[in-house]
Point group: C2
Chain length 203, copies 2
């Protein structure tokens, strides 16, 4: 039989408990905001005692940091997939519909929006988001550079910076746009995104 | 001498008091989040009694609604200016640096980010933001349509929808990008934005 001490050191069980807390926290943050949600609300939602939660996360900040890590893992996986394509630039344009659909899913964007609002006032969280971004750019930038050079397009550092930050802004802004215009014409949006992506990547 | 009753009905004084509350609320929302900031925190920041604040705003929702209205007035003014230009499409491209600088100013974006996070969970605020957007689009869209037709470019409804929503996403996303990359190379960003705007507006 598991003793409490053993439970805490079983990595698989600990991971599953951590995920249980994260899922509950996502629900509470969406409902009450990061500042409005208390550790006791999160523990009630997770069906765990507050004391038990503190075994995994010592604060709400630690919970939001875990979301930053999850988001970062998701981005790094997507970048590895991109790097393995025959033609990464063209595939970004071709796959615009998939990225658009993902960005338009409220379950996908509500939490990042809350995280950004919090990062704007919480330097520790902003710092974690920035570090994750530096890591992602260190993976993304060489792909764009290599592929532009392969096509004989300008690929100096300043140009790459500007094009990449514009391109990423485009996707960061889509959930905000969807919040303002819930019934967006999806195919028309795909056309617009392809026009912009093509200009940014292939000219 | 003003009596309290007279004070409440003096429109100029009422407006100045409303602004005092809004400025205090902006500080409190930035510091504590919309859910974390209480009416009593806002009244303390404004140097007014909580009871006095309720003369102007009957809830925090009413305060955030007033921010939606202010934002909307700002957008409508910008659209009138745009409409008065000789060449509105070219001027949007030329004026990218000004819009970028505005979007990169934390005082400009912290509150909208908080409003969006709140709108994602508060249907009344989402509804107000959507209504303001419908009004803005009713002003923006005919300008783009007229100018594209003048240049002999396609201007059917679906295309206009997609191009405009892509373009607006670009600017919605910039503050989020700036949060991730505080030291963005501004001139490189201007180049990227111009490339995207030119493709969206002039092709």
């Amino acid at each position: 039989m598991n003793t409490p001490a053993k439970r805490r050191t079983d990595p698989e069980r600990a991971q599953s408990r951590r995920n249980q807390v994260l899922q509950a926290a996502a629900v509470c943050f969406a409902r009450s905001g990061f500042h409005g949600a208390s550790m006791s609300e999160i523990s009630k939602q997770a069906g765990m005692s507050a004391g038990h939660i503190y075994n995994y996360f010592d604060s709400k900040d630690a919970i939001i940091m875990a979301f930053v890590d999850l988001q970062s893992e998701h981005v790094m996986t997507q970048l590895s997939e991109l790097d393995s394509k025959d033609d990464p630039l063209q595939s970004m344009i071709d796959e615009a519909p998939r990225h658009i659909d993902e960005s338009l899913d409220p379950h996908f964007f509500e939490l990042p929006m809350e995280m950004c609002a919090e990062a704007a006032r919480n330097p520790r969280i902003a710092e974690a988001m920035r570090a994750a971004d530096v890591e992602a750019m260190a993976r993304f930038r060489p792909i764009i550079k290599r592929e532009r050079e392969r096509r004989g397009l300008a690929a100096d550092d300043a140009l790459l910076d500007g094009r990449i930050n514009t391109l990423v802004s485009l996707f960061h802004g889509l959930p905000v746009r969807a919040l303002h215009v819930p019934g967006m014409h999806r195919d028309a949006l795909v056309e617009g995104y392809r026009v912009a992506l093509k200009a940014l990547l292939l000219t």
